[in-house]
């Protein structure tokens, strides 16, 4: 057993996991119409490489990663691309974003884009990273960070320890629990691939101690694999134990400072479900086209976990779980602490959809009107990142964005602990989200203003340069003219010169006319067979 450390703050929450964790993962039938947002991951949106009307096979790549931090998107079933357009996506704003729409042909015929690699050890870490990138593997814990980008660490900072995150600390959510119980062998195999790809020496799997079945299942799988590098560690159940930095601190005692990453300390943290999808991508050659989603809450008739194709309308998933009970007034994507309310259930399941939670008003803490902050400091005691939420609250509220940055608002993981303990019921996280998006917006404005300033400066320089060039040209012409004039005034008056020129020209014209007349007079009879003078010959 390894020594466990303690992170600051946190709270104990009622787990409510038994609603959904007692039944096995069910396969959900493929929906007729699948909507795949081009950005289901952190980073740049993927770039479509299929056209409308094109027929695609299951697993075929629809969009390729565009940039280093980006992920590919694949067809979850065989069918026809019917549209590439802006459609509502699951996002707190309820706004639309570009999506690829596929109409299933019902055959569900595989067209695997990759060779299965049974012998992944014979492939270099770089090849494995490339495979994960091509297979669209992203962190399935909710942050959806591209796994290949996370694995790409500078060679001078090698990874020593791989941490697989199976803490799943939020109430209600049980998808990782079920994956650990049913697919422990895939997780361990994926972990071995990640060990190979990262060069790490050992792997710690952190699981909250309220999931004994998952721990037993993982231990059995490790035993079966006969791999001594793995160790399952039961961590105390305390929200947010599954936060990456909190779990790392609990397991290793290393507190990652701000602006640094776990990889700077030789640590790599991946979700357990991500490890399973790594196994499927590398060994089976299957891209990420589905994920396990918990459908739960007191407002669902038959809560459970479902293996759902990416792009499936959420309403279909809810229907598979027996539909809503009457009186449900809120549907969340994610858990009750960090999830967000969905405006409607027609939006698709994306790679980040770990949980769909339907609640009645009576299932939630009654919403009480916020009262003034009394500066009790409970939020600061509970904050798992050692922030001062009350100070952040005052500054966010006053739109004093510089101050919120000084108080490290961007270290806030939005876990919601501060708001949960607040005796004044102040929606603290909402204030912090407001301040964060406000800061991002002002940053974008500032960059745009800088660009406009540059362009305006260039515009003015261009106008000045063009003016100067025109003036220089005029001056040159004027100088040339002046020089000519002085030349002419030296030889004689320019008026007489022009007169002379005119007279000479008139004399030339007269001479030519006279010559033509004499020619006509001398050769009138030979019109039919024209002859040419020497000068007229063609």
């Amino acid at each position: 057993m390894i020594k466990l450390y303690d992170f600051h703050g946190g709270i104990h929450l009622p787990g409510k996991k038994s609603l959904s964790n007692n039944t096995p993962i069910q396969q959900l039938a493929c929906s007729k119409r699948l909507v795949l947002p081009l950005q289901m991951h952190i980073g740049e949106p993927a770039r479509p490489e299929v056209g409308v009307g094109e027929h695609v096979g299951k697993g075929q790549r629809l969009a390729r990663p565009d940039g280093f931090i980006s992920a590919a998107i694949h067809a979850p079933t065989s069918g026809t691309v019917v549209a590439i357009e802006s459609l509502p996506i699951p996002h707190p704003s309820g706004l639309s974003a570009p999506c690829i729409v596929i109409e299933a042909d019902g055959e569900d015929r595989w067209e695997k884009p990759f060779e299965p690699w049974d012998d992944y050890q014979s492939h270099t870490p770089l090849e494995i990273r490339q495979r994960l990138r091509d297979a669209g593997v992203v962190g399935l814990g909710g942050a959806v960070f591209p796994t290949a980008a996370k694995l790409a660490v500078p060679p001078d900072r090698p990874i020593k320890t791989l941490i697989l995150n199976g803490a799943e600390c939020e109430p209600y959510i049980t998808c990782d629990d079920r994956v650990m119980r049913e697919r422990a062998d895939q997780i361990i195999e994926g972990g071995r691939i990640l060990l190979h790809a990262s060069g790490a020496e050992r792997c710690l799997i952190g699981v909250e101690d309220n999931k004994p079945e998952a721990i037993a299942s993982l231990q059995a799988a490790i035993k079966a694999a006969e791999d001594t590098r793995f160790e399952v560690v039961a961590v105390p159940t305390r929200y947010p134990a599954g936060g990456e930095r909190q779990l790392i601190l609990t397991l290793t005692g290393i507190e990652i400072p701000r602006n640094r990453h776990a990889t700077d300390y030789g640590l790599l943290c991946q979700n357990v479900a991500t490890a399973a999808s790594v196994y499927r991508a590398v060994v089976l050659g299957e891209p990420v086209i589905s994920r396990v989603v918990t459908v739960t809450g007191e407002g669902i008739n038959r809560p459970g976990n479902f293996e759902v194709r990416i792009g499936t309308p959420i309403s279909d998933v809810i229907a598979a779980a027996g539909g809503y009970k009457s009186g449900v007034d809120r549907l969340l994507m994610g858990g009750p602490m960090m999830g967000f309310a969905l405006a409607d259930d027609t939006v698709p399941v994306v790679k980040a959809t770990n949980c769909l939670l339907a609640l009645h008003p009576q299932d939630r803490e009654p919403e009480q009107p916020p009262m003034p902050c009394i500066r009790c400091g409970q939020c600061a005691e509970a904050c798992p990142v050692n922030l001062l939420p009350q100070q952040l609250y005052w500054y966010s509220r006053a739109k004093d964005l510089d101050r919120t940055r000084e108080y490290h608002i961007f270290d806030c993981i939005e876990c919601g602990v501060c708001a949960a303990v607040c005796p004044a019921h102040i929606p603290l996280v909402q204030y912090f989200r407001f301040a964060k998006t406000e800061i991002w917006a002002s940053e974008r404005e500032r960059l745009k203003a800088n660009k406009a300033r540059e362009r305006h400066k260039f515009h003015q320089e261009r106008i000045a340069r063009e003016k100067a060039e025109r003036e220089a040209m005029l001056a040159k012409k004027r100088a040339a003219l002046a020089a000519k004039q002085t030349n002419q005034s030296q030889t004689g008056s320019d008026k007489s010169a022009i007169k002379d020129e005119i007279a000479a020209a008139m004399a030339r014209v007269k001479a030519r006319k006279a010559a033509a007349q004499t020619k006509k007079a001398s050769e009138p009879a030979q019109v039919g067979s024209p002859t040419y003078t020497e000068s007229e010959k063609p």
Binding site: S93, A97, P370, A449, N450, R453, H456, H459
Partner: protein, 200 residues
């Protein structure tokens, strides 16, 4: 007595020389205050403030010739930022200069454009692409939304299109419990008598 006078004269001369050299050596080119003000202005270059661009307005503010409330594109946020920088009272936006509008970009109706280049000449940031008797188009990412291209267009084929928020640019709203305008609170905090019913 004489020693004291000599010592102080000598000190005066030495410090005088040091100050003189420092003034020459560390001379600040331009007006640093104008730079700071320019940094806060939105760089729309629209001229609604009455000055030909943001920089001249910044210089006028720095010289104390212009009030800080003449920038409609910047709106309340810019006025507050300027007030903070200059240590003066924030003022409401001067309504004569225009009003704060939703951010927008110019769009040319390419079916109507006759290729006269007048808008190209009017654009302060060279964000319109085109040539004589060729169709023109606005480079959306570079357009500041200054509206200076609207009046010169002889066929009125340019319109302003509001910039729609996307999931990436979405801003979380301030929770309802904290709604009075910042301007109202700032004014209330700074001046003795509160302005209006700002504390809703």
């Amino acid at each position: 007595m004489l020693t004291a006078v000599l010592i102080f004269s000598a000190l005066a001369i030495v410090f005088g020389i040091i100050l003189g050299v420092a003034a020459q050596k560390f001379r600040v080119e331009g007006n640093p205050l104008a730079d700071q003000i320019d940094e806060l202005l939105p760089q729309t270059q629209c001229g609604q403030c009455g000055y030909p661009g943001c920089r001249p307005y910044a210089e006028a503010i720095a010289r104390g010739e212009a009030p800080i409330n003449q920038c409609p594109p910047g709106g309340e946020a810019t006025i507050i930022a300027l007030a903070d920088l200059l240590g003066v009272e924030p003022l409401p936006l001067d309504p004569e200069r225009g009003e704060e509008k939703e951010k927008a970009v110019a769009v040319i109706d390419e079916n109507l454009c006759i290729g006269c280049t007048l808008c190209i000449q009017a654009c302060p940031v060279d964000a319109i692409l085109g040539a004589a008797k060729q169709m023109h188009t606005v480079i959306e990412s570079e357009c500041t939304g200054c509206e200076l291209c609207l009046p010169p267009c002889p066929v009125d084929c340019i319109s302003m299109k509001p910039i729609k928020p996307t999931p990436d640019t979405y801003k979380w709203p301030l929770p309802e419990s904290a709604s009075p305008s910042v301007m109202g609170r700032k004014i209330a905090r700074r001046s003795a008598e509160p302005v209006g019913e700002s504390k809703a």
